[in-house]
Amino acid sequence: MRPILLSGHERSLTQIKFNKDGDLLFSTSKDKVVCAWWSANGERLGTYSGHQGAVWTVDVSPNTVLLATGSADNTVRLWNIKTGECVKTWDFPTAVKRVAFSPDGSKLLAVTEKRMGFLGAIAVLDIAYGDGELNNLNVQAEEPSLRITCNESKATVAGWSYLGKYIIAAHEDGSVSQYDPKTGDQLENVQAHEFDSQINDLQFSPDHTYFITASKDKSAKLMSASNLAILKTYVADTPLNSASITPKKDYVILGGGQAAMDVTTTSARQGKFEARFYHKIFEDEIGRVRGHFGPLNTIDVHPAGTAYASGGEDGYVRIHHFDKPYFDFMYEVEREQLRK
């Protein structure tokens, strides 16, 4: 599995995202630039520049028309993917840590930071797609249609469940909560991870019925979107920054490493900067991929399950296309199941 090394960023990566077709990969970094790459060969398609601060988050609309980014300059920007022009800017009181399109692309949520007297909040924006000919994309709602304020512990990451039925948010205190996207009411709150260990990532399964969380408490949990039941637990030996569910094969990929501030005091073998593959159902670790020389900040899997990419504190994105053994590997019981 020879990786393709994307070295277009000058500072650490914050989030990477494949589009729904999987031909494009978008990456954001603390260097204020958003990049788009061809996932097949790692060639850079272009950049989206305009943000005045570190870009924390990116998401692609399901039809690959619009790109949403959230930044430390307190804005969410909407870009025309094809032309690279910024079609809309929303201002918020604080930095935006996570954006996510609903599965049908009609809504966008933005998680804002708790700072300067403002509580952490989740804002929901309605998204319009112009006339279908990529015109009038700049016609967007000015104000969020809904605002959910997190009174207790700020939300760090959030996403939409299937049919946009719930908003699932994960919090700084290690809990996960479920909100009604129509009313903004909190329906449920579960202390999924150890208390006070921040949840750094939350990614959904392809059908959005369950999701995986990655936390500082060195574990990742697979949870049901409908009732927040913990289905599986994956234990690692290092704080986790990102976790992703692979389609096609029943694996999950976890990434993390010694926190950036501790790295200088420990040796490289201490850092544990590896992507770890676990079997989704049996919770066993089945492999690791080395390469980064800083903690892995973000991982995303190709929607077809043929590749994955990781972005590290070291400023590189590595795209790995899976080899045949990856697809062939199977537990005996799975093989039996398949034969039936």
């Binding site: 049919l163 289905l231 030996d237 201490q270 049996f282 019981v333």
Partner: protein, 742 residues
């Protein structure tokens, strides 16, 4: 149950509660006033009743006994008479000092005076304190006997049908005891949070597990690890068992402050640092003030100067009949156990004594009728007198052998486990004191006259030395030249020695092989001998463990054919950050561990076989201690052991069968478990899909609602057809030149 010391027994620690209760009225009524001077009085009961005129005679007779423990005189004995002019059978005696009075109580109480009379000696103060009116009931009540309770078998772990070994694991705040299951995860016996506050320690034969608390030491044992004994030494820091588990020595840097109402400690223990306890009774035998090796100037209360504590302060003889302590540079005090009196009333004066060691076993010496305990000690050069190593026989205190040494800078005494040899490792400096060298002087204790064999030719200083347990081979590590100031570790050389083959007798010790350019610093012999691990521990850059076999069953090296060994390196293993290595008591497994007490990187423990095959790696957060549970010595006779060894093949067949069976069982269990998990998962997925479909219908959404609402308006995803990557190669000709040659 949280097994903290607070919940052990209520009666032991009720003084804390008392502080909060106002009991001044009770205090007034019952407080014993410690009057000056009364401490020197004792009351003697059980004397014969005599008329006035023979009283004098009795007193004189009694004085002979009384003066054996202290000094008193005829005037100081008061024997009152009653109305009839007869004595009452008791007497008051005044000693010169309170210590003598105490000694009288300790040593004369219960001693027969003649055939009919036995002395009962008590302190006057105690009679006052306990015997005052109202404190003793007039009528005799038989003490109530508690119903007999079956106690747990203290050696129950030895009855394991698979002969597995146990170990204690201390990590984070939890201490657990586990069965070793080879490469499978260990099976838990007990696991308790906050079981100890400082560390845990097994007794030498594995009967007890000691936990250390600010209130004292607690021993646990039996199948469920229930409370066995407790020794309330406040702020205890170090614990040492005697070799046969009869006694326990505890040490604390803080002198003990005994408070009124302490049920076990008495005023004798006040101000002491060391207590020697009798494990059976749970009572102190005697307490001592510790001699520090080099006490710094006394600092502030909270900034105590670093004193080097001499530990173990008390060293036990192999038969546990004697315990000795050294007063550095002056004497060795040998105490008889259990009465804790100095052997022959005096310490053995040895000017300049620097260190001593008991023989770890009772040695059967040639040409001696009665085998006594042996003790080895050394003194450095003083003035023009040479340094001296001597061996003393106890209790006769006879010097068996001495040897004078010159230019000595340090000496270490290494006994072989059966006491057959003592290796005296002598670090010598040259006349100019610039270069160092090491000599080994080996005393062959069993042979007549204790001959001494000298092994020199070691140019470098030896940093570690270790005898093969129950064998006559040894390994040593010598330090090479250390590049000064460099961060790299000094290179060390590892040397293996064995005696020459000479029929039935053991020949001279000969070097088998020297391995150079190592960084090793630790030698760990298998408790059964033959195998040895030489490792680099506590290092930042090297962490290798070399597994050696001293009796390799293959071809023998020509150059080494005349020594009783066949050395072979079996395997080298690395364990990052290893700090400790421990063999299990049967010599089957080796555990290397990295403790958070030394560093915080990759703490945990790894299990290896004796041959260096790693069975399991167990990274453990905040790992502190791994301790194999020791086993008591085997009950089989030499012949029976030989028989077992002879039939080893047959036994191993059985065990292999069992192992295979266990693996099969385990595999089936894993497969079953996986099947269950997989079907549960698939069922969950199906259910979830159904719910989703229902809800979609309820919302009146089309089948592909989630896949791009406005997909028909924009580009269509072509996922269904799979990925097609179109790669266009554009060739751009930058420059083309044509050269005509010729």
């Amino acid at each position: 149950m949280a097994p903290s010391f607070d919940t052990l027994t209520e009666q032991d620690f009720h003084e804390e509660e008392e502080e909060e209760i106002d009991f001044s009225d009770l205090k007034e009524q019952y407080e014993v006033k410690l009057e000056e001077g009364l401490d020197t009085f004792v009351v003697i009961d059980g004397l014969p009743v005599v008329p006035e005129d023979s009283r004098q005679k009795l007193v004189k007779f009694l004085l002979r006994k009384l003066n054996t423990v202290g000094r008193t005189s005829e005037d100081a004995v008061f024997m009152p008479l009653n109305d009839k002019g007869m004595s009452e059978g008791f007497a008051f005696v005044e000693y010169e000092t309170p210590e003598q009075a105490l000694a009288a109580v300790k040593q004369l109480h219960g001693v027969p005076l003649d055939k009919k009379h036995t002395l009962a000696v008590n302190k006057l103060m105690d009679i006052e304190r306990y015997g005052r009116e109202g404190r003793i009931e007039e009528e005799y009540h038989a003490p109530e006997l508690e119903p007999f309770k079956e106690k747990e078998h203290l050696r129950s772990w030895m009855a394991d049908s698979n002969a597995r070994d146990q170990f204690a694991l201390y990590r984070n705040d939890k201490v657990g005891v586990f069965w070793n299951n080879k490469s499978n995860p260990p099976e838990n016996v007990v696991d308790r949070a906050h079981w100890t506050q400082l560390f845990v320690q097994w007794s030498p034969k594995g009967t007890f597990l000691a936990s250390v608390h600010p209130q004292g030491v607690q021993l646990w044992g039996g199948a469920s690890f229930s409370k066995q004994k407790q020794f309330p030494h406040p702020f205890v820091q170090l614990v040492e068992f005697s070799p046969l588990e009869g006694y326990l020595t505890t040490w604390s840097s803080r002198p003990i402050q005994v408070e009124e109402g302490q049920p076990i400690l008495t005023f004798e223990e006040d101000g002491k640092n060391i207590i020697v306890w009798d494990i059976e009774s749970g009572k102190p035998l005697r307490s001592f003030v510790s001699h520090d090796l080099a006490a710094g100037p006394a600092g502030e209360d909270d900034v105590q100067p670093k004193k080097k504590v001499q530990w173990p302060a008390f060293k036990w003889s192999a038969d546990e009949k004697y315990v000795a302590r050294m007063h550095q540079g002056q004497s060795i005090s040998i105490y008889e156990v259990p009465n804790m009196n100095l052997l022959g009333r005096t310490s053995v004066k040895v000017e300049g004594v620097n260190d001593f060691e008991w023989s770890p076993a009772t040695v059967t010496r040639d040409g001696i009728k009665q085998y006594e305990q042996l003790l080895c000690f050394w003194t450095p050069e003083i003035g023009s007198n040479p340094a001296r190593v001597a061996m003393m026989s106890v209790p006769s205190k006879e010097i068996v052998r001495t040897r004078n040494l010159f230019n000595v800078s340090d000496v270490k005494l290494h006994w072989q486990s059966q006491g057959a040899y003592v290796c005296v490792k002598v670090d010598r400096h040259s006349k100019s004191k610039k270069s160092m060298a090491t000599n080994l002087e080996i005393f062959r204790v069993r042979e007549k006259g204790v001959p001494v064999e000298v092994v020199d030719s070691l140019k470098d200083t030896v940093i570690n030395f270790s005898w093969e347990p129950n064998g006559s081979r040894f390994v040593l590590i010598a330090n090479g030249e250390a590049p000064t100031g460099a961060a790299v570790l000094p290179k060390t050389t590892v040397s293996f020695f064995a005696p020459e083959k000479k029929g039935n007798t053991i020949g001279n010790f000969k070097l088998i092989r020297t391995v150079e350019k190592k960084t090793s610093n630790g030698i760990y012999w298998s408790p059964k001998g033959r195998f040895v691990v030489v490792a680099t521990v506590h290092s930042q850059s090297n962490f290798d463990l070399d597994f050696w076999d001293m009796d390799f069953e293959g071809e023998k090296n020509e150059a080494e054919k005349d020594v009783a060994a066949n050395l072979q390196l079996m395997k080298t293993v690395e364990h990052y950050g290893v700090t400790d290595i421990e063999w299990d008591p049967t010599g089957r497994y080796v555990v290397s561990s990295a403790s958070v007490w030394t560093h915080s990187m990759e703490n945990g423990w790894n299990l290896h076989t004796f041959a260096g095959n790693t069975l399991s790696e167990n990274p453990t957060e905040k790992f502190k201690q791994f301790l194999w549970r020791p086993r008591p010595p085997t009950l089989l006779s030499k012949e029976e052991q030989k028989q077992v060894r002879k039939n080893l093949r047959e036994y191993s067949k059985e065990f292999d069968e069992e192992d295979r069976y266990a693996v099969d069982i385990a595999n089936t269990a894993v497969v079953e478990q996986r099947k269950r998990v997989l079907s549960e998962w698939l069922a969950w997925l199906r259910r979830e899909k159904e719910i989703m479909a229902e809800e979609r219908e309820a919302f009146g959404l089309p089948e592909d609602a989630d896949s791009s609402k406005l997909a028909k308006d924009a580009r269509v995803g072509n996922q269904q057809e799979g990925d097609t990557v179109v790669e266009e190669i554009v060739e751009e000709i930058i420059e083309e030149t044509e050269e005509v040659i010729g």
